[in-house]
Structures are given as C-alpha cells and as structure tokens.
Amino acid sequence: MSDSPVLQIVDLRKSFGALSASDNVNLEINAGEIHAVIGPNGAGKTTLVAQICGQLRPDAGTIHFNGQDITAVPQEKRPALGLVRSFQITSIFPDFTALENVMMAVQLHSGHSFHFFADAGKEPTLTGPALDFLRVVGLEDAAGNAAYALSHGQQRRLELAMALALQPKMLVLDEPMAGMGTEETNHVIALLSQLKESVTMMLVEHDMDAVFALADRISVLVYGQIIATGSPDEIRNNAKVREAYLGDESLADA
C-alpha cells in the first residue's frame, strides 16, 4: 500500500440554506484501502458522495484525485479519470436487459458511441466484457432478463457490475447493501473483499457488520463534520463516536 492518497478532500464546505451538509470536511483515501464513511442519518454522507462524483459543486474547498484537482471537473468526465460511483437508490436502465445495462457501461468506457449502423447487440467487444462483469457479481444467469424484473438484490449487484465495467481506479459505493438480505449482503462483502486487490474503495454504509468486516479505515461523519478517522478498533473505542451514536449497540457488538 502506498501512502500517497488517491483521493484528497481539503476543507470542503456545502450548505443548503442554514444547513451545513459538509462543514470543513477533510478526508484522505489511500491507494488500495477500503475506507468506510459512517454516520447517523442526515450526517451529510450522500452530499459528500455527490460532491466527490461531481453531481454537486462544493461551496468551498478542493478535491484532488490522483494528484489532479477535480473540484471543477464535470460529473460526466470523472469516470474517464477512474472515479466511479454507485447509487444509494438503485439506478439502472429498467427497459434494458441486465446484459444491455452492463454493455452500456462497457460501451461508454470504450469511448466510442457515435456508431450509427452496426448492431451493438451483436458486437463481441461489448457482449464479451459485459458477460464477464455479470459473472463477477454472480448475475450471468439473469443476463437476458429485463432489469426492471430483477429482484432488489440482483439490481444492486447489477449496479455494481455497471460500476466495475468502467474499470475504475476508485469506487465510491453509496450504501451498496441497502435493503439486502443477510445472504446477499454476505455475497457482496465477499465480492468487495475480492475487488480490494485492484480497486480503492470508499464505502458509505449503514450495515455495521459489513463496515467492520471490510474497512481498513473508518471516518465518522456527524452533522457535516468528520469527528474521527482511524482503524476499526480505534473507531470502536473512540469516545466521541460512541457519544454520537448514543446507545447504538451495533457499534459495540461489531
């Protein structure tokens, strides 16, 4: 593991009226680590993700990715740099099949979409890699199913396959386990720990079992501020964190 941060956030601020969703956030995510960001509801986690991915512009502060200042880089140019997100609320193409969903990601990653005549559905350079990514998340059997008809857990995994198809250097995962059953959560935990070899990850998650099973480091966000960053053990024993989670037993149990 190298020490140079892949993602470096300095003094990030974002307010919605009087509400400070990001209040001087400083965060460094190192190459090869899974860095979890946890915090109570309304702490500003999704706002932070939206700024990292360019969906929202910060009021102040900078975001560097691999040494490059990306604060002003538009959202759609960030995946090409290797910064890719998944969504908290499942965001797929419902009328496409599972395979077509991933093919779209493969196609956009290839950067060649102004092709007007060849049948995209028959291009092996699209179908081949797309099937591979479906296999990675264990969805190859559902390749031909319409995405809207997949189960919630399958859609979450499809979402992940689409993110992977962009071959990211860093994945920003916004609650990838949201609404999943235990079995599927375990499946995704196993999958993410496998991926750890090749991709740096920022993991925003409520499932504390998953967080403590996966994370190398954890940052705790409360009221728009990072109140602590450290190893899982340090976070578990941090007094400020315990206070913020006030009686939340999941931390102590994990």
Partner: protein
Amino acid sequence: MGSIRTSVLALAALVFALLVPQILSYYGEDYLIGSASRIAIYALAAMSLNLILGYGGMISFGHAAYFGVGAYVVGIASFHLFDGSTIFGFGGTDAALLSWTLAVIVSALVALVLGALSLRTSGVYFIMITLAFAQMLYFLFVSLEQYGGDDGVIMYNGRNTLPGLDLSDDTTFYYVCLAFLVAFTVLVALLIRSRFGKVLQACRQNEDRMRALGCKVEHYKLATFVLAGAAAGLAGALNGNHAEYVSPDYLHWTKSGDLMIMVILGGIGTLFGPIVGAAAFLLLEEFLPVLFDTANLTEYKEHWRIVFGPLLILVVLFARGGLLGTLATIGGRNER
C-alpha cells in the same frame, strides 16, 4: 420478440404500398393517390419526431418548425426562379436535387441552433421552449411580405424537377415519397440497434445514470435532434412539392400537435408506429367528413373532429401501445 413475424408484416405492408397506385386505378379512384403521397410524407415527419419523442424521451412540441422550414426553402427557391429575382445573390431553382438538399441542410441547421438552446432545459420547460421557438418561426414567416405573408407562396412553376423522373406525375411523385420513407425507416431501424441508438434509449430511461457512467448526454440528444430536424425538413420539402404551395400553416403549433398525435396514435417508441399513426390520422381526416355526409349530417361535417377527438382519447386510454400495439395484441403476439 417475434422479429420474423415483424419482418414478414413489414414486407407485406411494403408490397401493399408499392401496389397502391394500381389498386386505386383498378377501383377508378386515381385521385386518391395524392392522399397516399401525403400519408408517406407525414409518416416520414412523424417517424423523425418519434426518434426524439419515442426513443429519446424529449417531448418536443415544435417539430413543425423543421417541416415548415424545409417547405419554405423549396417554396422560396421556386418563387425566385419564377420571379427572376435573387436571394443572397443567388437565383431561384426548381431542381429537386439542389432544392431538397438545401431544405435538409437548412432545417438541420435550424434544429442545431434551436436544439442547442432548448436542450439546456428539461421537462415542462423543454416542451414550452420548443413550442415557443416554433411559434417564433411561424410569425417570422407570417411577416415575410415578399413571400406572401399569411397567404404563403404558390409554386407557379409546379413541382421541382428531377432528372429522369416526372414529379408532376402523381404516381411517380408517390413512389419518390415512398422511397424516402422506406430509406428513412431502414436508417431508423439500424440506428436504434446501434451504439448511438442504445445511448439514446438509455438516456431516456435514466439520464442521471448515463452522466454517472461518463456520458455527455447533451451531445447525443443534440445529434438526434438535428437528425430528426433534417428528416422533418425533407418531409416539408416533399409536402411543399405535393401541394405546390407553402404557407405559415406548415409551422403552426397545431401541425406540431398533429405530428405528435400521429406518433402517439400509432405507437410511440416503435419503428412502424408513426407510419400506422400517420395513415390512420390522415385517412380519418379524409373520410370522417364523408361519413357525416352519408349519415345525412352534412351541415356538421366540418366538425368531424368531434368524433376524432374522443377516438384519440379512447386509443390513449385503452390502447397504450397505440394502434400498432393493439394490432399486435389482437394478432396474439406475446408481450415484448
């Protein structure tokens, strides 16, 4: 998907379309060939609208603008030839190759400018701004006194000329219109399966996701908008030729509405829906008044829309895939 069945039906429809002039002359109704040309022309325009409306999910309420601009290019070129005057230093022309190419280019350019501005908005604002631009162009042409203002331009030289073909012959002209419709249908069929078409359909389904995947959504939407504008311009040029007359009515917002109705009536977001819709719309427009006559309601026949309106509402309420979707269901084809 029953794609073989679709191909067979499409082929049968094409054979029928090719035989229309013979069928009409067999029944001694040759004068109806003009209606057939109109159906082909409007099917082309509706199909171009379907590209942005159905496949792209962009609800443009100003598609008649490109139809009208294309028609006016042909009308103005013809006017200057007859008049002997010049426009921008050029004389007029009635050569179809030149005139129609110009119509396509100019309407594509207009679509490029209006699209670039309109696509900055979305939802209701997009509907309103496309409508507003189209109405601006409508009033622009109304104000052009040289070209007849409200009354429009009559093409005194008749239809354009095409080497080897006599366009003033209604049957020949019908086949030319049909050829353009078939060519554009093939183009759209290829397009919607291509990489570009997939991007367009994905943008309709989930634009945010496309951005997060690194797609410059606006580029694809604009390219589609321009393509659709160009095809509508061609349809307009053909319609100007068909009627040998061009007027601001071509650009009026009710014309945009008619095109929209054709798309929805036939089956939005389907390849052949706009053709079915255009045929149904224009045939009803032609024969509903006749029906009033036979029912001894001649004094009401100008109000044929009283029947047409509820019919349209019934289709929208109960036949969600449009007429094409209903036909497919009746034909026992499986869903999807």
